[in-house]
Subunit: 314 residues, 2 copies
């Protein structure tokens, strides 16, 4: 059975049946002109919109539909994590071709709804429309104490640059799936929502971004045009067995970890020596790696000066 | 010049240049992982997501790109109006083919941004992605006093059914544009934001919906399966010159006004006789028409019973 065999309202009803649209912040979920959400006194709203498009962000042939839904929600909620927000809910704009098999739709929606519910970000509304290709537009809504959101800006020379978890797993998984005919995308990133909220409560944490485009690209967004950091590729936090797996595929492990993207770890700066890396790891409940210190100067100029030694400047 | 000739960041910069992302509620606009918005004490958040897809909701060949942008924003904000919300801001998920002319992109974005700014719903964030066809996913954010949002539910037999403005103009405009080779969509609906907020402040107003799908379809959403209203097609509020224009195109004016959709007027119910229609019109600053009373009973059963007389039962 294909989507064209069902009406819009039947499809929306199928979403409603699997979506948890109840949550502590939800006054009114799916079904009216809009949803209603409650913030606590002294909080401000955090809002982010992310797209997930067939042929750009995913391919049906190498990924289970439920995982596509799960990854789309995780990517959106990761932006809330990077602001130090607690999730309130999310809305979904879903565009689908009439020829899409109903089983694929159901699995996609179940994956979406389960990931949203797992992070207390229930699906509270959205929109369904026909289109030539499948695309998901997710809006994540969260709340943070007024004036306490973790922004990208604010880092200064001397700040310590740190990252949660490990880097490269998502890129390696994509490379694997693309090289083999029967290869499947298996990696699903974990939005660091709990870690983000805990980081937001640490006064010496200055700035934060989630790594969606790759460590190097997002480091540029974090530090801007007049700061840089000197990274030692040998010190990158890599997954267990990563170097060997890259070698088998003929890939450069450091390049993959630096530029691959899709891991959704948090990259942040800390002013002064407290908390230590060990203390950070305990408070966040995650491995933390200190990658270096923020330095003065434009990244390009330094990159040229330093040449192509074992270190890369950005 | 086409979009593929520019990078994602240059295109985002072009949006930032025309978007007003300042507003009374905006703590942080475009440029970080997420935007920050402030609600007032005692308010709750109103959120709605709407899609606008090439070939479904608009066609480049018969509509100016700026008008496409304007209509997309208006449709989204209309849902906030129907809840009685004051707008806080909006986010935009924009998917575009690389072959789109840059001039069309610029005009689309200017139309979007101008309409958003005009309603104090500044564009505070979003996402840009490549796709095979153009689609816009808009999320409207608003605020309403806790517990005072205008919902769809709650109407009872005896309630008066009223509508703002006139019906049929958007459908007539679409029919005109589609029948002529060089026809253009010219109508741009006005989201009834001020009227919606004023309705929300009137205690005797029970329930409200915006008419996006047509009066009949949205009346069904408002009254649900166990209530109906008896409408007199001769009493529909039609635009000036509408009957004659319909006759010239061979269209049934009442059918168009009942089912056409796209006018984004507010359809609402009022308990008791106060305020009168004249008082409502003064308070809302708009023409108001009383269409009838809410009655008990399923609409289908009555429709069959009443046959095909001059009256239609829904």
């Amino acid at each position: 059975m294909e989507l064209r065999d069902l009406g819009e309202f039947e499809l929306i009803a199928r979403i409603e049946r699997v979506a948890s649209h109840a949550g502590p912040a939800v006054s009114l979920g799916i079904g009216d002109d809009a949803a209603l959400l409650r913030l606590r006194a002294g909080e401000e709203l955090v809002v982010t919109t992310d797209a997930f498009v067939e042929g750009v962000h995913f391919r049906w042939r190498n990924e289970a539909p439920g995982r596509v839904g799960r990854r789309a929600v995780a990517a959106c909620l990761s932006d809330l994590a990077a602001m130090g927000a607690r999730p309130l809910g999310c809305t979904l704009g879903l565009a689908l071709p009439g020829s899409l098999p109903l089983r694929r739709f159901d699995a996609l929606v179940r994956g979406l709804a389960a990931e949203a519910a797992r992070h207390q970000a229930p699906l509270v509304g959205g929109n369904l429309t026909r289109a030539r290709e499948t695309s998901l537009s997710l809006t994540g809504l969260g709340a943070v104490k007024r004036g306490r959101a973790l922004l990208r800006r604010g880092s200064r020379p001397g700040d310590r640059l740190c990252v949660t978890g490990v880097l490269g797993a998502a890129a390696l998984d994509r490379a694997r799936a693309e090289r083999s005919r029967a290869g499947r995308v298996r990696h699903a990133p974990e939005p660091r929502l709990v870690a983000g909220r805990r980081l937001g409560a640490i006064r010496s944490v200055v700035a934060c971004i989630d790594i969606s485009d790759g460590l190097l690209a997002d480091l540029r967004h974090l530090l801007g045009p007049s700061l840089h950091a000197t990274l030692d590729p040998g010190e990158l936090p890599l997954p267990r067995g990563f170097r060997a797996a890259c070698r088998r595929l003929g890939l450069d492990p450091e390049a993959l970890a630096l530029t691959g993207g899709g891991d959704y770890e948090l990259l942040f700066t800390v002013r002064g020596n407290r908390p230590s890396v060990a203390q950070l790891a305990r408070r966040l409940g995650l491995p933390i790696r200190e990658l270096g210190r923020v330095e003065r100067g434009a990244p390009e100029a330094l990159g040229r000066r330093s040449g192509a030694g074992g270190w890369r400047h950005f």
